[in-house]
Amino acid sequence: MKEWLLQLAETCGPTGHEDNVREVLRELAAPYADEIRVDVLGNLIATKKGKKGGKRLMLLAHMDEPGLMVNHIEHDGFLRIAPVGVYANLPAGYLISQRVEFPNGTVGVIGSGAVKSPGDVSPLTLFIDIGSASREEAEQKVRIGDFCALKQAAFELGGNKIVGKALDSRASCVVALEVLKRLESPEHDIAVVFSVQQGVSGGRGAKPAAFAVDPDFGLVLDAVQTGDTPGAMRSEIRLGNGPAIKLLDKAVVVQPQIKNFMIQQAQAGQVKHQLEVQPHRTSEAGGIFAHSAGLPVGALSVPIRYSATGSELVDLRDLEAAAELSVRILEQYNLS
């Protein structure tokens, strides 16, 4: 999983433009899936047949990372941007001096016009410098409507941790891949969905995917911010304590029978785990729970530090535990 994560963390896949990530995942998933397809929105769906009479279960992890859209190219080659999704809600000052990359490989640096105080930085003062001296030169590499994401090298830290950008939710994608690999002859039909556009409105790709797959149960893999760093916002989540079994987020309250089933599986398998109540963030769980005639849903979150920055941090042991627990949950699923 470590190699997969290092590769995926460095792949460029901003919200709505996940092609590069999808291609890497498609290649990695191919050996373990019976069938792979891409739907109209760009979701990657890898399926595996289970035993006769089994249920159909869906495992979901989002491929996208926060992105910035180019909405104007200045005459002297600088790019103007509009933040989309997560970045639209963060102070614009966070972005100054970040390195960015476009899916076609073009790289650049974010700068800002001069302001009186840091709070005055806004998306209107920001720009990207891709080293072009004129609009014509810039248009060779980038067009209005193109999206970029942060560019950061991923590396190991302290033996079992990984630092990189987009670990939310490439870490979940890696766990999903590992689960697909381990489920050689699954009990139930499994559909692993690598979804698009989680970063906007709580998740756009997931619902159409759930509609197409029409599963009996959905397990959403995502990430949750820890509360174990100095001065952190109140959260019981700690790095290294295993995947968090989601109880509540902004869009979902996990049904007690599902919560209890998942906790029971963790205990039976002696898998390290913790409990997540995260009222300020959404995941795709809420959207798929309420889609069509309803879908029982559970979620596991990989603990992550420094979420939505260029240097997110995860513990590989949490990923391992998440994969183990996910396999148990999918294999043992027996709720009506």
């Binding site: 919200t15 709505g16 433009h17 739907d39 109209v40 929105l41 979701n43 859209m69 909405n71 104007h72 200045e74 103007r80 509009a82 989309v84 639209a88 209107l124 209005i144 409507g145 556009q197 906007v200 409105s201 756009r204 619902k207 159409p208 509609f211 197409a212």
Partner: protein, 341 residues
């Protein structure tokens, strides 16, 4: 004149009766069937030869307006918004209330009676009143009721350099494009969906897409043009006179790149000018359509409109005509198998 008939008709969100009937009468002789659903969406279907991908064109019938909420003892009417209105555009405007189009004026304190500090603040919704000429509650209730909706009393007029002003170009201009398409013939099935309640939360579009199940959907909108003093160039959404605007991203969609590139190709091959819609603000019916069922490939083409959601909006008639042409050429390209999903 089609744009005049469509923009002057009344259709606040949830009360689209008049505009729906007007559109029905425009299209009924040109299509294979017309019907409505329980929300009030209007569908006009052209079967063509029945082969080929099914295309849905979509435009919303509803407009922003106001609703009478209560009647004061002195016969003046309090009101609330229907859709996203800026209170500052309401002051000193005439309106037409209800089915009978009772005239009223949105009045305010004269400047002579306002203190210096008052004059620099917008008049709040709570202070605004509609005056229909009644002096008592009983007199007012002879003509209007709480719950009645009122539209701006703007009339359609062509002026300036090939421009027109009216109310509700957003989205009667889109409806007009659909009506023009109704009059043409295509090989593949085309469904013209005139939706309701877009302005109060994109309500009609999802059920419409669920019912129609198109292979491809194109939304025709009237979108904001901010090529006016006080806006920096890179915050401009669209500009008048530069052709139909192709959407990139808005609050409800990250638009399909392949669809947009195909649209650009169609425009270039046919010598039709176009521009990009450079803002990420706003939302439209495509937001619901593209996520319906298993997902539907969709896009948005818009006519730039200055002073959107205000009583007097302006479009370039050249932009409108180019949008009609672009839509037709797009449909021809689909008909000829030129669009790959």
């Amino acid at each position: 004149m089609l744009l005049k008939r469509l923009t002057e008709a009344s259709g606040p969100s949830g009360h689209e009766d008049e505009i729906r009937q007007v559109i029905y009468e425009e299209v009924r002789d040109h299509v294979d069937r017309v019907y409505t659903d329980s929300l009030g969406n209007l569908y006009a279907e052209k079967d063509g030869k029945g082969t080929g991908p099914k295309v849905m064109l979509c435009a919303h019938m509803d407009e922003c307006a106001v609703m009478i909420s209560s009647v004061d003892a002195n016969g003046l009417l309090q009101f609330r918004h229907v859709g996203g209105l800026d209170d500052r555009v309401l002051l000193a405007k005439p309106v037409l209330i209800g089915e009978k189009r009772i005239p009223g004026v949105i009045g305010s304190k004269p400047p002579h009676h306002q203190k210096g500090t008052e004059r620099s603040k917008p008049v709040s919704l709570e202070q605004l009143r509609i005056d229909i000429g009644a002096s008592t509650r009983e007199e007012a209730l002879q003509h209007v009721q709480p719950g009645d909706v009122a539209v701006f009393a703007t009339t359609y007029e062509e002026f300036g350099a090939n421009c027109a002003k009216s109310k509700s170009f957003d989205d009667r201009v889109g409806c007009a494009v659909l009506v023009e398409m109704a009059k043409l013939s295509f090989d593949m099935p085309v469904v013209l969906a005139f939706t309701v309640q877009e302005e109060i939360g994109l309500r009609g579009a999802g059920p419409a897409a669920y019912r129609v199940q198109p292979d491809i959907a194109l939304v025709l909108e009237g979108t904001l043009a901010s090529d006016t003093p006080g806006t920096v160039v890179h915050a401009r959404a669209t500009a008048l006179g530069q052709g139909p605007a192709l959407s990139l991203v808005d609050g409800s969609s990250i638009h399909n790149r392949k669809f947009r590139e195909h649209m650009m190709k169609v425009a270039e091959e046919n010598g039709i000018p176009y521009q990009m819609r450079n803002t990420t603000a706003g939302g439209n019916d495509a937001g619901r359509i593209h996520l319906t069922r298993e997902g539907i490939i969709s896009g948005v083409v818009s006519v730039p409109v200055r002073y959107i959601h205000a009583p007097a909006q302006i479009i370039s008639l050249g932009d409108y005509e180019n949008t009609v042409r672009l839509t037709e050429k797009f449909l021809r390209s689909v008909e000829q198998g030129g669009f790959q999903r």
